[in-house]
């Protein structure tokens, strides 16, 4: 029983309560406290992660407490490599988002004094953020399927309020769409969770004990379907993706980062952890249709992104394309591809996070998300433009930046997969590689229209990034470049977990060992 994870989960929620209980008018203190608590969580996570042994048991820092004995539910937490890196991603992003959202709730005024968004409760925003952090840690740490589900669904609520209360003009439509979409998927998953419990008959929700519990192939397929639809909506996979552009475009930039950077990862994480390991036969049976959906997502998301006029929607569509890659990697059933997919989840969080935040800073200066309202930012705000460009390049997976490694691994792993239907996987990887061209088009076209060219009249008044904003983007860019050249620390943690997953799916995992140059 290790107290680490419960402590990690407790710190932000304590912070949330403290922040919520602050007296009126202590907005600044609320921000500072939120930052403090999120940094504390980050430090604690760092200390914990330092003690993680990649070669150790599958779930480390495990803890198990009885929660609802009547339902056989335990408060069971523990992390494997994939979960650990995703928790790390979350706790890194939260303080950054706190800094980035520093003034988001203070209302938006354009240069000429018209109020775009009125002032809103600062305390509420930041306590929601901290609550969300707890849930993000919880959802990745849960080793009890029921507990996972609880966090999976409960996460929607703080995000719903963050979008709905603090978002743009269409915020309530976007928030409701987000909530209902996710809720619907979640409820189907609930049925599957119950079904899993009932059919497994082992009177427990603990993940390790449920692995291999369902043998009946037909039942596996039904349950797999319940889980998968929920995760596909969350991820989001074509054709259930249309909530994301709305939600991401309307959410404040910080919330959008957490939404796309972390919340959506729960979907792909769930596919990797639950869909594959609990229902291996069904996962194999459904590989082909899912791969097709993933490839459609990749190409379709990229093409639709090209046609967007709103920066945040554009970024959201690029994410749909990227999530296609992750799903492809998960279901390619090869260790390279799956490690790549897991790594992609992290890298995408950094890359898209940076892109959303940089776009957010742009938008905050102009009050408009539309690309056509910009131009020539490079001239007046070179720092902002530089960060925006780097983030964009990370978005198009430029080699040397972290997202390249993962995209490369996913594609090469898919291409070389020896899993069932590997011929089709080869084709899928080939088609998905076309996205490298489309990615260049959507990112660089946006860059060209916003940063380059003659400076548009309203842009001339732009101030370059201030210190706070630099502190928001610099760590992300450092991580993007750092992991671009040294992905090993992450991969060393991820690989054993992926091997374990594949073992549970009964896929031989010798690809690396046989072909590898390094071992």
């Amino acid at each position: 029983m290790s107290p680490w994870l419960p402590i990690l989960m407790a710190v932000p929620v304590v912070g949330a309560i403290v922040v919520a209980l602050l007296p009126k008018g202590s907005d600044k203190l609320a921000k500072q406290l939120t930052l403090l608590f999120s940094l504390l969580t980050l430090v604690l996570t760092g200390v914990m992660a330092a003690g993680y042994k990649p070669t150790g048991p599958r779930f480390q820092f495990a803890a198990e407490y009885d929660w609802i004995p009547s339902f056989g539910v335990k408060f069971g937490v523990g992390v494997d490599g994939v979960a650990l890196v995703l928790i790390a991603l979350s706790v890194v992003l939260v303080p950054i988002v706190v800094l980035a959202s520093w003034n988001d709730a203070d209302g938006v005024k354009t240069a000429d004094g018209t109020i775009v968004a009125p002032k809103r409760s600062v305390k509420t925003y930041f306590s929601l953020l901290l609550v969300l952090e707890t849930m993000m840690i919880g959802v990745f740490a849960a080793t009890d399927v029921f507990l996972f589900y609880v966090f999976f669904e409960a996460m929607l609520i703080p995000m719903y309020f963050m979008i709905g209360s603090y978002g743009g003009a269409q915020r309530s439509y976007a928030a409701v769409k987000f909530l209902l979409y996710s809720l619907f998927g979640g409820l189907l998953m609930l049925v599957a969770v119950i079904g899993l419990y009932v059919l497994a008959g082992s009177k427990t929700f603990m993940f390790p004990e449920l692995v291999g519990a369902i043998q009946d192939p037909a039942m596996q397929k039904w349950l797999f379907g319940g889980f998968f639809i929920a995760f596909a909506i969350k991820a989001p996979l074509w054709p259930v993706h249309t909530w994301l552009p709305d939600a991401a475009a309307q959410a404040p930039a910080g919330a959008a980062v957490l939404l796309v950077g972390v919340l959506d990862k729960v979907g792909t994480f769930g596919m990797l952890r639950f869909c594959l390991e609990l229902f291996p036969d069904a996962a194999k049976a459904f590989t082909m249709p899912i791969v097709v959906l993933a490839v459609i997502s990749i190409i379709y998301g990229a093409i639709v992104a090209i046609g967007q006029t709103d920066m945040k929607r554009l970024i959201a569509y690029t994410s749909i394309s990227h999530f296609g890659f992750i799903v492809l990697g998960v279901f390619a059933m090869s260790d390279v591809a799956q490690s790549g997919a897991a790594l992609y989840m992290v890298n995408h969080g950094f890359a898209t996070g940076a892109l959303f935040l940089a776009a957010g800073f742009l938008i905050a200066r102009r009050g408009s998300p539309y690309i056509k309202d910009y131009g020539g930012v490079q001239k007046v705000a070179p720092l902002l433009a530089g960060f925006f460009l780097i983030a964009g390049l990370a978005g198009l997976s430029l080699p040397g930046l972290s997202s390249f490694v993962s995209e490369f691994m996913v594609m090469i792993g898919t291409y070389s997969s020896e899993a069932h239907g590997s011929g089709a996987l080869t084709v899928a990887a080939g088609i998905s590689a076309l996205a490298v061209i489309l990615a260049a088009v959507y990112i660089l076209w946006m860059v060209q229209r916003t940063l380059n060219g003659p400076t548009a009249e309203p842009v001339k008044a732009f101030k370059d990034l201030n210190a706070r904003e630099v502190w928001v983007l610099a760590p992300l860019v450092a991580l993007i470049i750092g992991f671009g050249f040294f992905p090993k620390p992450l991969l060393d943690v991820i690989n054993p977990s992926v091997q374990a997953t594949l073992t549970n799916v009964h896929v031989p995992t010798s690809t690396i060992a046989e072909k590898g140059t390094g071992q």
Binding site: F71, E153, L183, L188, V191, I194
Partner: protein, 528 residues
Amino acid sequence: MNSIPAPTIEYGTLAPLLVVFGAAIIGVLVEAFAPRYLRKAIHVPLTLLSLIGAFALVLVQVLRGDVPTSAVAMGAVAVDGPALFIWGVILILSFVCVLLINDEGHFVASAAAVPGSADEEEAEAAGAGGHTEVYPLVLFAVGGMLLFPAAHDLLTMFVGLEVMSLPLYLLCGLARRRRLLSQEASMKYFLLGAFSSAFFLYGTAMVYGFAGTVSLPGINAALAKSTALDPILMLGLALLGVGLMFKVGAAPFQAWKPDVYQGAPTPITALMASGTLVAAVGAVLRVLWVGLGNLDWNWRPVIWGVAALTMIVGSILAITQTDIKRMLAYSSIAHAGFLLVGVMATFGTAAQNAVSLKAILFYLAVYGITTVGVFAVVTLVRDPGGEAWHLSRWAGLGKRSPVLAGTFAFFLLAFAGIPLTSGFFGKYAIFAAALDSGTQAGDSMGGWMAGLVVLGVVASAIAAFFYVRVIVLMFFSEPAADGPAIAVPSMGTVAVIAVSLLVTVGVGLYPESVLGIANDAARSLFIR
């Protein structure tokens, strides 16, 4: 000459019931003899104390641990584990509702006076605190609620039904504002209620004709003996079902609910939405399990259809409602549908029955308390002419009164079944029980139950839409310039909201607290 043997009455076991009825009768006497200015001062403590006392007596029985294994009062009343649990829940709910009723301004000073007439003004001027007969009426209704689910034969059940309903018919008509609506609600409730109880009674007669007895175990025994299915029995069952389903508010017998919930004074709506529903579901369970246990293959498909229809009708119709109470009424219909899914699961082995029973009891408890909290909040949001009933008036409430709006939002999320609220675990328990029973019953049944659960899930998703819509209005819309005022709540109302919130949050975080009790109650099963 045959001597008629004196009936044996187990006073100890029936004490909670007797306390409530006794207090009610004393209340009537107070109405008759106490001076007007004293009445309220007597009624309030009397009512509250009697409810507390009754609850304490229930508690004593539970703690003593010797739950009776046979029916008391010559087989008329069964005070078994589930009944005690339901009693406890009803007593808590009604206690909380009485706190709401206590609040000023919900009830008309003189029910008989024509609205806007001189009579009314006079009564207003004279009576501090409106109609004090509300208290004994409520006590009678609560007594009926206690009797209804504990009745061990159909006659007692009928009597319980009427004792519960008759005071409620009257209470519905006592709203201080919007008198016309209130009276209309009262009349509709009365006529339809009487109509449906006539069906119940005729059904009882048919069953009596088939079984030769109205005692529930007797009926079950008769069912076990007969091989051929008697059309008279089927007719009887159907008509019994009409009466019960009417009280539960299941489709297609739900039509009264929106009208009555909307027109009734809000505290009474709260009582009906929580207490009556609990009692009615308890009675349904008892009839189906104790009386018709041997016929489950026949009634189950019918309940399947009713449950499905109820969930769908409740959720879909709620979407376009603009009156907050009316919307909550439809929500209540949808929840009745969910409960019926649980009822569907009460068959098979005793162990399975206990699982399902536990789920339903848990659901009833947490749903009831959240419901009272919701209506308590509704009473606080006021326009000059009374409660702000139109949903558009709720726009921007989150800005004006974040705590109240936040609480309300939390209740709505609990209704929607979002995790970390009590409502989620309720829904989970029901669905889990349904799937579990389906699997154990075998192949085709498993599929049917899974289908019903998926339907329930779809209905939940639709239902979530209208809960969320209210949240959108409260938090994401700008407040209207002349928005409703938030009444300064009385201590009672604050207590009600606080208790509901506490339970909804507490059970949401640690459901075992209530689940454990429900489990104990359900384990002993209904006395058969």
